[in-house]
Subunit: 301 residues, 2 copies
Amino acid sequence: MIIDGKQIAQTIRGELRDQIAALRAEGKRVPKLAVVMVGHNPASETYVANKLKACAEVGIEAERISYDEYVTEQTLLTEVHRLNNDDSIDGFIVQLPLPEHINELNILSAIDYRKDVDGLTPENIGRTVQGLPSIVSATPRGIRELLARYNIATEGKHVVVIGRSNIVGKPIAMLLMQRPYLSLPGMSAASLGDATVTVCHSKTQDLAAICRTADIIIVAAGSPNLVTASMVKPGATVVDVGINRIDDPSAPRGYRLVGDVDFEHVAPIAGYITPVPGGVGPMTIVSLLQNTIQAYHEYTR
Amino acid sequence: MIIDGKQIAQTIRGELRDQIAALRAEGKRVPKLAVVMVGHNPASETYVANKLKACAEVGIEAERISYDEYVTEQTLLTEVHRLNNDDSIDGFIVQLPLPEHINELNILSAIDYRKDVDGLTPENIGRTVQGLPSIVSATPRGIRELLARYNIATEGKHVVVIGRSNIVGKPIAMLLMQRPYLSLPGMSAASLGDATVTVCHSKTQDLAAICRTADIIIVAAGSPNLVTASMVKPGATVVDVGINRIDDPSAPRGYRLVGDVDFEHVAPIAGYITPVPGGVGPMTIVSLLQNTIQAYHEYTR
C-alpha cells in the first residue's frame, strides 16, 4: 500500500484550519510564526514563500523578517533575542543556510527552545531524548505522523534507520525507541515508540542482512536505489526520506526526483511504502504548522 | 579477558593527579567542584563522601553545600543560579534523589550546561546527540573510556545496547553511533563511534537472536542473568552496567552484588567482559572528576 503523504498533509491542513477557526470564533488570539530570511538564496526564497503560504491557508499569522546577506552575526543574535521576548510571536525559524560569515550554531543555540518550531536547538533535542515534552523537527515529526495515520504500530517492532543525521536519523531513532509519551492532537491510537531500533550508516557492515530483519525501514541516506527489493522483508513498511536528482533526458527539466529506495521493485513486496515525491516531503511544512500551534498551546498561550 | 575497571580507574586518577599538580606548579587556579546535598539519605551521604574524597585525592577543590530536607524548591533554584554565576566554581552537581516535594527536573534544567558535570541537562544531552562538545554523564563516559583503554574499536561493529534509560542506554547509543569527534585527554586512538547500534529493551522481541549478532553488548537493564552464554557470540565484548542484590546466605551481609550478565558462563566465551563489581562501577566517580576538569578547560578557565 502506498502511503499518500500528499493526501495526509492535505487532511491535516484541514484539521489545523478548523482548529484556528475555532480559536478565532472564541475570540482568542491565533498562533503567530515569524520567519527570519537572510539574503536571497533562490531555494530558500521558495521554501519561505511556501511556508508563509501554508500559514495563510490554515489561518496562522506569519511575518517575514528579511535581512540582506551582509548582516552581522551580532545583529541576527539581537533579532533572535528580540523574538525570544516578543509575546506576540509563538514560534520562529531562521531559514538555513546562512551566509558563511555567520556561525549557524551560534544563531540556532540562541533560540529559546519554547519558540524553536524547527526543533533544532540542543535543548529540544535533549528534551526529546529524555522523553520530555519537546518540539520535534519537521521530518521526524512528519514520519511519526504518517505512521500514526496509517495505524502502523511500532511496539516491539524492529525499526532499521539508515542515516544518522541530526535532523532525521538520530531524532526518529530516539522517538521510536522510547516509551510512548505523546498524544498529539489528531493522532490515532497507534502505539508510537517501544520499537527495537537499529541505526545504520556509511560504516555499517552488511546493511542488507540487517535490513532483511526489519519490520520498518526508514532511509535518509541521500543515495538513490540504496534499498533494493532483496533487502526488504515481504510486508515490511518502507519510509523513504531521500530526495535525489537523477538525469532523465525524457523529463521536462532533464532530471527527475527519486528517493533512496528502488521504488519500482520494492513497492510490490512492501506492506506500506512512501513514494518520492509525495511521501514524507509534503509532511515537513505541515510539521512546522503543527509545531507553531504546539508552541502556542504549551508555552505562550 | 576481564576488563579491570578498578585498575583503569586507579590509573586515570593518577593521570588526573598529575594534571592538577602541573596546574599548581604553573601557579594556575585548580578546578573546583561543588556538591549540593539535600537531607541525609544514607546512600547519598556515602556517594557524596566518596566524591569529595576522590576530589581531594587528585587535587580538585571541592565544596559540600548542605540543605536540610525541608528546603524549598525556590531556595534550591536560587542556589543553582548562584552556582551558575560563581566564577570560582567550574562544575557542580545536585545529589539525587531530592525530597518528593521538589521537582528534580526543574532543578536539573536550571543548571548551566557548562557547569553540568553530571551531564544530565537536556542541553548537554542534545549537544551530545548533535555531536557538539558536551559533558557526558558518568556511566556512558566511563564505558567509552574502558573501551578506549582496552583498544576495543567500535567502527563498523554491531553494538547492542540493552536498556533505554536517559542516563545510560540512550546516551551510550548516541555516542557509539556517531562520527568520532572527541579526542579526550589520556584516551587511546581507538576509534570510538561509527558503530551500527541497536537499542533493545523490555518490549524487544527475540533479544537473544539480536544479541548473538553483536560484536559488543552493553547491558543496563537491572535484571540478573539477563545475558546468558547462548546469547553471546564467541569473542564479543560484554559491558555489564547492572548492579543487582541477590540473596546469598553465605555472604557476610546476606546478599551479594551481581550484574545483568551470567558472568560465570559468559566470561569463558567473551573476548572482553566487565565484572560486577569492579568493572563499570569504579569509572563513574572518575568520570565526574574528568568532567570537572573538562568544564574547567573548556568553559571556565
